[in-house]
């Protein structure tokens, strides 16, 4: 007969959290940053065939760090939620807040009830008419959710990258300044020297109407890093 064993709930949760953190720390960091032109989502993702940064709805973008298959299925669920809401009510009724809440519930449930927690950290961002009205939410593997201010970081080395941002961020800058700041934060935060090709960049462009999400091409990123 197998020996019954006991693990305290505290230990069990700690182990799960450690496991999830370990998985997430293997990936690279992603930065979301308020800029004059919109909300910038910058991932260190050379090649970028498997995207980490993407469109959810008109003014809402998504970034996922950690295990690709897991944040990809969360991304799809988010797009589905947004499109069903927009289709059954109206396009104005889709909000980042509702989406972030949904993710928080989902991740929280999985963390509490499933054997294996999800090894993902997410950012949900919504661009407003002015930088002050931009919303950036960070949702962790255990479902904890926080509304961030001017920037948020998820993924491996998130703390180090965040440290650089805390020290270097002096106010909402234009696209070129913001891109350079993201580059520096990701470089110093543990990725070594990076060039335009190493980034996957999405912009929720506040100057656009309707669907605001744009992927910035390598040439555009190069130009921004070269000075604007």
């Amino acid at each position: 007969m197998a020996t019954p064993y006991y693990v305290s709930p505290e230990q069990w949760m700690r182990d799960k959290a450690e496991f999830a953190k370990k998985g997430i720390s293997r990936g690279r960091a992603i930065v979301a940053l308020r800029a004059v032109e919109g909300v910038l989502l910058v991932a260190h993702n050379p090649g970028a065939a498997l995207t980490k940064v993407s469109e959810v709805y008109d003014r809402i973008g998504f970034a996922g760090a950690g295990r690709y298959s897991e944040f990809e299925s969360l991304r799809k669920a988010g797009v589905r939620h947004a499109d069903v809401t927009g289709y059954s009510y109206s396009r104005e009724d889709v909000s980042a807040r509702g989406l972030a809440d949904g993710y928080s519930q989902m991740l929280g449930n999985v963390f509490a009830h499933e054997m294996k927690p999800m090894e993902v950290d997410l950012v949900v961002a919504q661009v407003g008419d002015t930088p002050e009205t931009d919303e950036i939410y960070r949702i962790s593997f255990d479902g904890s959710i926080s509304g961030e201010g001017d920037y948020a970081v998820v993924g491996g080395d998130a703390d180090r990258v965040l440290n650089i941002l805390v020290r270097q961020f002096t106010g909402v800058g234009d696209l070129a300044q913001s891109m350079k700041l993201c580059k520096e934060a990701l470089e110093v935060g543990g990725n070594g020297t990076l060039s335009a090709r190493d980034f996957e960049v999405g912009l929720l462009d506040r100057r656009k109407r309707g669907r605001t999400f744009t992927r910035l091409k390598v040439e555009r990123v190069e130009a921004l890093l070269a000075g604007g």
């Binding site: 993407s54 299925s73 969360l74 797009v79 589905r80 499109d83």
Partner: protein, 261 residues
């Protein structure tokens, strides 16, 4: 999250998702009693789409009618569905608009899930399935008969498609028309259409065809200078979809009317 990645409704189609998981949200969700009298609801009337040298022109009159009455004078029956395509609707107004909204969501959903756009033929085929899905409603008098037109970015040409009530899709090389005035518009286009027309020429020919339809079909409205209501005209080319501004349509319409007198 769907635990089975290839289960019905878990792919890149919003329509298939609704069919599998949320049939209550489908336009054709309301079952009706068998043998009930066909409903009379507002109907849209004349729409057309036409190929020209650089792409396609899609146009429609603005009137919705309910039997002998005017239901709306300002309806837009030409609806942009994505960056390179548009839908023109004829049939029962409510279900038509609902289907246009569903189809627009379908294209956007696919693009977001897959990270690329559907091919023009893929879009046209999907629309056919959706029209067929509405067949039961059509039997009750709530038909949706769209035209679909767009710029095929793979081949670099404009293409136009028409549908029958059962979702049967037909592609034409020159033009397609639909609605109660569609026959009259077709007559006008048959005589005048030339392959390889310029943009302005195509826009004016579309207006002329709508004018002919309005002349002979009670339920189609011509340009209305008194109220300032003019047909909806969209041009789709390699650059994308452009709605021809009302001022420009007024100018074109004046030239067409001048030529007619």
């Amino acid at each position: 999250m769907n635990p089975h990645p290839f289960a019905p409704g878990s792919g890149a189609s919003f329509y298939d998702y609704l069919v599998a998981e949320r049939p209550d949200l489908l336009p054709s969700a309301t079952p009706m009693k068998a043998g009930a009298e066909p409903l009379t609801v507002p109907h849209g009337t004349t729409v057309l789409a036409m190929v020209f040298a650089a792409g396609v022109v899609v146009a429609g009159d603005r009137m919705a009618s309910d039997g002998q009455s005017v239901s709306s004078r300002r309806m837009d029956k030409v609806i942009q569905t994505d960056a390179h395509s548009a839908l023109a609707i004829s049939g029962a107004v409510g279900p038509c608009l609902e289907m246009a909204k569903l189809f627009t969501t379908e294209l956007e959903y696919y693009e977001k899930i897959e990270g690329r756009r559907l091919s023009l033929l893929g879009k046209a085929n999907k629309l056919g399935q959706m029209v067929r899905g509405n067949l039961a409603m059509a039997m009750q008098g709530l038909a949706v008969i769209p035209l679909f037109a767009g710029f095929d970015t793979l081949r670099g040409v404009g293409r136009v498609f028409k549908y029958d009530v059962a979702g049967g899709k037909t592609e034409e090389l020159d033009f397609v028309t639909a609605g109660s005035g569609g026959g009259h518009a077709r007559g006008a286009l048959k005589r005048q259409f030339r392959p390889g027309m310029g943009r302005d020429q195509a826009v004016e020919m579309a207006l002329l065809a709508l004018l002919d339809a309005a002349d002979d079909d009670l339920a189609t409205a011509g340009p209305d200078p008194v109220r300032g209501i003019y047909p909806t005209v969209m041009v789709i080319d390699a650059e994308g979809v452009t709605q021809v501004a009302e001022d420009a349509v007024r100018g074109h319409a004046a030239r067409v009317l001048g030529g007619k007198e």
